[in-house]
Symmetry: C2
């Protein structure tokens, strides 16, 4: 089968590619062709080089989506996006990529399907940013989407398009709303949510990390490995089980920052915990106060999507996948 990953240079995209490299039968059929595309040149693991094409593209560019879809991928992962902070700061760019780029992709599939039989599976990375305060402590599957960012608005619109195009049989789509992915590998970044990962990742390798919010902050988490698992499951599930409501809040772990810290203590001791420096940042505190803390992801769970159930597990995943099973 021909698999296409848009946003293949991003963290989750790269991990999805690595998964395919390790498990060529992850989708049940051999991956005979792999197209990786991103705004930055996506890396290609050696094992996949014979079947891979890596492209640097602007999804919102004229004709870009049509050229991608011409190659008739059977399975398309759409993870390409301008992230939340940038989409808020740059109105035009956020709408151009996250809305127009997504619609161009969906319409390219539609146009190809008008002239020949073509109904690919499309797995779309959505976000819990489709929700906006105030919400109940535990957000149910049928809660309305009232985003408070342009990014969340663009994701919610893409979800609606995905459902309508799927209903019309243009493609077979699933939108998956990811929890905050933790522990993110790599260097600390400036995302407001970065500290959730920083306070675990950095102390595990003997480095300090800053905690800008109180220990009592609650949030919604899954590991990068769980995220890849969501995408693989979404690629292979029988969509007849899903029906018309194609956008699913993924399961996750609702946990306090203090629970993160206690898991770190159990795994790496007081010495690691002592590396967490409390530097309250009112701006980040205010941003985080607007985020969901817990979902009742009954539908996705009943459809077989799985996440971790404790921060000990999330830490263990990080140690296995990023630190070769060992830590400092």
């Amino acid at each position: 089968m021909h698999v296409m990953i848009l946003g293949a240079a991003g963290m989750v995209g790269r991990k999805l590619v690595e998964k395919i490299a390790r498990e060529p039968l992850a989708f049940g059929r051999p991956v005979t062709r792999l197209t990786l595309a991103d705004a930055f040149q996506p890396p290609v693991p050696e094992a996949l080089q014979p079947v891979s094409t890596a492209l640097t593209i602007d999804l919102a560019g004229a004709g870009a989506a049509d050229r991608l879809i011409e190659s008739r991928p059977d399975l398309i992962f759409h993870l390409a996006a301008i992230v939340s902070g940038e989409a808020e700061a740059d109105f035009d760019k956020g709408y151009a990529v996250n809305l127009d780029g997504t619609r161009a992709l969906f319409d390219a599939i539609r146009k190809l399907g008008l002239t020949s039989a073509y109904v690919p599976r499309v797995v779309f990375a959505s976000s819990i940013a489709v929700f906006g305060t105030p919400f109940p402590e535990v957000i149910p599957d049928e809660f309305f989407t009232t985003p408070l960012t342009s990014y969340g608005t663009q994701k919610a619109i893409a979800e609606l398009l995905l459902a309508d195009y799927s209903r019309r049989g243009i493609f077979d789509g699933i939108g998956i709303r990811l929890p905050t992915i933790t522990v993110r590998p790599g260097a600390p970044n400036k995302a407001a949510s970065g500290f959730f990962s920083n306070i675990l990742r950095e102390p595990l390798v003997g480095k300090e990390a800053i905690l800008p919010v109180s220990d009592g902050v609650r949030h919604w988490f899954a590991s990068p490995r769980a995220a890849v698992g969501f995408f693989v499951h979404a690629a292979t599930i029988d969509t007849a089980r899903i029906g018309a409501r194609r956008n699913l809040t993924m399961p996750g772990l609702s946990a306090l920052v203090s629970e993160e810290i206690e898991a770190l203590r159990r795994v790496a001791g007081d010495k690691a915990v002592a590396l967490i420096k409390r530097v309250p940042d009112p701006v980040i505190e205010r941003i985080v106060a607007g985020w969901p803390t817990q979902f009742d992801a009954t539908r996705a769970s009943s459809l077989g999507f799985k996440a971790e159930t404790s921060f000990d597990e999330i830490l263990q995943v990080h140690i296995e996948d990023e630190l070769g099973g060992r830590f400092a």
Copy 2:
């Protein structure tokens, strides 16, 4: 003030224009300029001719929205749309007008606001078609929007855009989800919902009407007069009271077809009821079974939006507004 009505040739648009003709101070300030636009030439009441411009436009046409907004209306009613059946039959036309046309309008306001202070009030006609089965018997304000038509999808997307553009201060928007407007004046039309009006309007003037569903069908109604009231209230309400959630399900009357018939009997007697011919139509029965039957429109009610509370009232409105207070 300069008032613009897009979709001014439609039934609700025309009634809104007539309201302004009768009550020049309906919005608190005199209407010194009125721009009426539609795909068909909108009629202009004589009293408003000195201040009115009537335009035939295609909102989705190149530059059309910019040319409209150049005149800097203070208050914009956006009722222009390709209706549900046509948007479902003609994919391109529905998306072009209902999504691209709406976005072009919103972006025209944004562009003008980039070069000079301009933040108009925008009142958008949305629809309960943003909801799709299965839903609870009474749909709460926080229920999610999972439309099962392209029309409903386009309305739900426009709602999201309206909320995001309002949050950013580009304009001051309100989306109002109208109930099924009953009794629609004019000739019977082919809309699947037409019979709800036909079985009242036609017998009142001594004509037969066909009832294609059972008496036990429940639906959600408001009169044309109530719809105009929603628009006027949305134009004048202090939006600080609404906050970020700018799209509101309007109040309405949840009633059975049998309640419509009994109201007709009380007003016009058995002779009128006898003109209703039962001709079951499985296609219409199936379509109607997918429609909402009742909402808990708490938010809109608490914000002062008002609809009828009985079919006797709805019939009385029709007799007063369409039949000069008399019926055959």
